[in-house]
Symmetry: C2
Subunit: 410 residues, 2 copies
């Protein structure tokens, strides 16, 4: 008997939104079974089920207990696993469903945002050995005291990657409602390209900068355990995008994507006497008030006076301004300037590290079109510029053209 | 510290049908907490949730796996326990919810109709000791291999009684949408009386003969473990009916209720030579074909020839007739007569055992009104008569009047 080829597949909410969609998923799984794969399937709750449950809870309590929310929300995935098992049976494919509790997906006790600590493979392997498709409820686990926990946003992706890791396979497919990872948001850039491959690092940077196709925690997990994530559509048979180690990539572009964000605001505290502890005091204060800071730039000017600029979510803008005003004098700053409406446009790519001049070329492109750069921040895998909100789409288009469309023509 | 007074309360689907109803249930529980009770609550799925899930499964499979149906249906109760815990928290009452799995309600592996084998009280007692209201999902358990099972019709009542038994309390309240157990169906008899007390045996007989307020399995369970079941409405504060051992009853009526059934048919196989094995052959044949037989009457006539009359559900009538035709000659019977439309009217009461003449009085009453009795069957706690369907309501009214309304006037 040949060794089992195990594949883990994860189907998101839109892929299992209706009984018809669940039947279509069963067909797809059947193809893999016929090809000799041992299939482990992770599913999310159907369509908008989770939202419905959240608003049901909202009718009872404005601040429900997190333990009870996890008890409530975990039912969504449990419904899907049972229905998918029935759909597979209907197609004469042997299958069995398991809750997170039943395959002992043990997490910490951090309700609503738990981290997976271990998974028992005994029951899964026994079922796979019995030629059953194994269906596991995503997003959920139990803590060491047998309370039901959920993994937070993108949790089912994380469940799938963790299962691939413990089952010792590198093959993990993430089925969603888009064809893969694109070089830009199609709502912003007219003809973005689908990437065949992307590195973990680029994918993380894209997630951080606004691409929503994969949650960053699942990508970090995949990187840690060296799992190849195939992001693809459950509505077609086309290949999607494989997220993989950079050293395994066949082709590497200088940049792999352009992202935009329109939900942040910029604040600058001007002319602070440059002494230790100022930045730490400022950002701890914001953090203690649960204000998430994205870009931070500090520049030292004349007379050893520094200005600190940073961006916060637009929703947090008013509160952040209040806090800055409250410590302005303590800092000895000359004043605060701010801009509520800004855009952040970013280029992401591991190729940038080895290609000098990417940043320069990006700035050139923006300046050629008369777009003023108000703030710049760079990381290992990306360059972000704060610009006027009115120019956001134009900036994304011309950067995309310069780096991703010209190459195609070359 | 005084000993804890534990009470188990079960709330059915209509009692928790909406968030508002769940808040009302929380208020009621709060009253018991204030009175010093340690409260264990068992809940059903909200309103029509179970029906909705069943039809969802029906869209995928006409004959879904029972294991997967149990996986699916058990989510209904899980939603309710979480919401009720939130509702109690909202009223500043400490509470915690548990699935059947979490309190180790161990059942046999008979999916969709499992029997409870044991319940672990450790976690429940620990929570009660910590002054928490404990909310347990009804209707569900797990088998010894950790598969989720459900208990079948009336399962949540059974969960509640079983919990009362293992927690060593006799107090179990069953909240429903009616005020208690009545002497007759108010759709048939105009002013039935609510019984303050009823014995287990009478309640079982009423359930068997068509009263749907409690499922017989939970009553059997209560009888076995000597639990007093208080059946009452969650929509009012009035006392309901207590189901209890006959020897504890304060007042005993000759009969406690009149029931009617209109969903059965009568079949008679005539003039069978009286030899051993005929009845066994007939009823095994019907049983093997999953035809449920209710009343059976055998009479021996002249020449040692016997006639066997029995009733079956109207839905099974055609199939039952076919089977009878197929063995008629083998039996040497002279023929088959049948009547598809009949009514069964029954009087139920433990008092009948000690009151000679109840049967006679019942027959008198029927005959005074010109109602012909086509078949009679008696048990320890009841007398049932098959009559013409047209006379069903009249028969119920006059029997109710003779036994239950005259007493009131006396």
């Amino acid at each position: 008997m040949p060794e089992q080829k195990i594949i883990v597949q994860k189907y998101g909410g839109t892929s299992v939104a209706t009984p018809e969609r669940i039947m279509a998923v069963a067909d797809r799984i059947g193809r893999y079974v016929n090809d000799g794969y041992s299939v482990v399937v992770v599913v999310s709750a159907m369509g908008k089920t989770t939202d419905t449950l959240v608003s049901l809870a909202g009718e009872i309590s404005s601040k429900p207990s997190k333990r009870e929310m996890d008890m409530l929300l975990s039912t969504g995935e449990q419904v899907t696993i049972a229905l998918l098992a029935m759909a597979l049976h209907e197609k004469d494919i042997d299958a069995i469903s398991y809750t997170g509790s039943q395959v002992k997906i043990i997490t910490d006790g951090n309700f609503s945002n738990a981290r997976i600590q271990s998974i028992s493979t005994d029951r899964i392997k026994e079922s796979l050995f019995g030629n059953k498709v194994v269906i596991v409820a995503g997003f959920q686990g139990i803590d060491t005291e047998d309370n039901i926990t959920t993994l937070g946003r993108g949790g089912s992706d994380t469940s799938a990657v963790a299962l691939a890791a413990v089952l010792g396979t590198r093959d993990c497919e993430i089925y969603t409602d888009v064809q893969g990872v694109f070089t830009a948001d199609p709502r912003v850039v007219t003809h973005p390209k689908k990437l065949e491959e992307i590195s973990y690092e680029e994918m993380l940077e894209l997630s951080r900068l606004g691409a929503s196709v994969l949650h960053s925690r699942s990508v970090e997990f995949a990187k840690k355990y060296n799992i190849r994530l195939h992001v693809r559509s459950s509505f077609s048979l086309e290949q999607g995008t494989i997220v993989m180690p950079v050293e395994e990539m066949m082709e590497k572009f200088v940049i792999s994507g352009v992202t935009t964000k329109a939900d942040e605001s910029k604040i600058t505290i001007r002319d602070i006497p440059d002494r230790p502890g100022i930045a730490s005091r400022l950002f701890n204060l914001l953090g203690d008030n649960k204000i998430y800071v994205n870009m931070i730039v500090q520049s030292t000017g004349i007379d050893n006076k520094a200005s600190i600029s940073f961006t916060v979510l637009k929703n947090d803008y008013d509160r952040a301004m209040e806090l800055c005003e409250s410590i302005k004098d303590e800092f000895g700053a000359s004043g605060i300037t701010s801009k509520k409406e800004i855009a952040i446009v970013s280029a992401v790519g591991v190729g940038m590290l080895s290609s000098y001049g990417v940043a320069g070329r990006m700035f050139d492109v923006l300046s050629e079109h008369g777009i003023n750069i108000e703030m710049i921040s760079t990381s290992e895998t990306g360059i972000s510029c704060v610009i006027d909100l009115d120019y956001m789409e134009l900036a994304a288009k011309i950067i995309h053209k310069a780096f991703l469309e010209e190459e195609q023509q070359a």
